[in-house]
């Protein structure tokens, strides 16, 4: 735990002494809850269609696979044609592309970003490293199975998969969303304890609240 996050007594400018506990004072401690599809079937269907045709990807490249996303924005592959756009902030994104190997240090940031995204949200594992560690299978500092830490909707295998493979993967994700089966956010909320235990077993300097609103 970092020193500035520890419980301590501070002196205010007017001489008062107050107790500060940053994790409790500055962050919300509520866990995530399951959000049911609250509408009639036909509206939920319309919403699922809209969600599938408007995938906003969080612009966060976690590993070498991020290089495969750049050609998708440029004329050669132009993913904007398929309703896929990049957003710079987790608040506005729905899709998290874990691009390649994930070091433990990055995993921490990934969890924070994932939890700040608004549901329903989706995770795509890009490259073999997210499935079984890939060429980093015996690395001391990367995670091997992404599925243990975040609910993954689609894997795109390859080292590295080409941009076409990514487009095919996104189309596959769209089918899953339209079928109403992309409930990763709810799965995360249901199995919250399990995911947190897995995350904490690899992240040793856990200095954030259990759920980042």
């Amino acid at each position: 735990m970092k020193e500035e996050l520890l419980k301590r007594v501070v002196k205010t400018p007017d001489g008062q002494e107050i107790e500060v506990e940053p994790l409790l004072d500055y962050y919300c401690q509520e866990g995530p809850t399951v959000q049911p599809p609250a509408y009639t079937a036909i509206i939920e269907k319309l919403f699922n269609w809209a969600r599938s045709e408007s995938l906003w990807i969080l612009g966060f490249g976690t590993g070498c696979g991020a290089i495969e996303m750049r050609p998708l924005m440029t004329p050669r592959f132009d993913a904007y044609r398929y309703g896929i756009q990049w957003r710079p902030t987790p608040r506005q994104s729905n899709l998290f592309v874990i691009s390649g190997y994930l070091s433990v240090k990055t995993l921490k940031r990934v969890i924070r970003s994932y939890e700040q995204m608004q549901g329903p949200k989706y995770v795509v594992g890009l490259g073999s490293c997210t499935i079984n560690g890939g060429m980093y299978w015996d690395s001391y500092n990367t995670i091997k199975r992404l599925d243990d830490y975040l609910p993954v909707d689609v894997y795109i295998a390859g080292c590295m998969p080409r941009p076409e493979a990514l487009l095919a993967g996104f189309e596959e994700l769209k089918k899953i969303i339209r079928a109403g089966k992309a409930e990763g956010a709810n799965k995360y909320a249901e199995n919250f304890e399990w995911y947190k235990a897995n995350q904490k077993s690899v992240i040793h300097d856990w200095d954030m609240p259990d759920y980042n609103w």
Partner: protein, 306 residues
Amino acid sequence: MMQALESFNWMRIPYALLTVFIVFNFGFLMNATIQKIAARVGRRHGIPVWQNYVDLIKNYALRTSITHGVMFYLGPVFRLSGGIGLLLFVPIIYGSDMFSNFSFTGDLILALYFVFFGTLGMALGAAESGHPYSAIGITRGLSQMTAAELPFALAVYSVALQYQTLSITDIVAAQQGGVLHWTVFTNPLAVAAAMLSFLGSMMRPPFDVVLAPQEIPIGPPTEYHSSFLAMMQTNRALFPVAKMAVYTSLFFGGAASWPVFFLKVFLLYMWSAFVGVVFPRFRVEQSIRWFLIWAVPLGIISILLV
């Protein structure tokens, strides 16, 4: 009071709603078209024309949203009411009883106020989100907006002095009778100043440093999401069209029917799109300097000449 109520034509309200509806759809389709044109310049296909509608439904359909306080809620509301207010208090279609909406004799001043209103509301709302990127975005946005509004305000005063009225309807009436009666020919310097200011307020390059995703991530709306963001998207369709309606009325002879209105607004938007695809992005201090050096003197000269 009672007399005012009795003499009020209640049919104006459904027509006002109809105006909002038409402008909303036109704004959405036009924004997408302009995005497509900009994409074609970059040799891409760009988004489908209906993409913005899908994004809007998607954002309303998100199941969770979090808030940072009352002003965080009110920010998008202020922004949207700035857009709708501007739209409803200026005469959209000249000479049409139905689509003059709630315009009145002093509406020019009110329009000037509404142009700035949304930005101020946004500033308060985004500031409450507590995100440092929002704070920087607001600082940049307000400074650039102020510099860009200055030449526009000067041009508006120049036009008001020229026609000796503060009513937009009267200004349009004075421009009837042929293209050469338009303000753009009778007072070219004021129009030039206003058109340069126009570039600054459309959030397109070279003046899009405030909202550009590649700069401090997306600026003021960093923390805005789901239905908050959807309201701001709605405003992004309404507000530019409303603003261009003011421009059309003040400088380009107004519009006597919807097709003429659509054409003039589209051409006005194309002006900022053309400049946008040609010129790279300015930093904030560069754009402020640019407005002060090139646009403000034009506005001052135009007032002096009038």
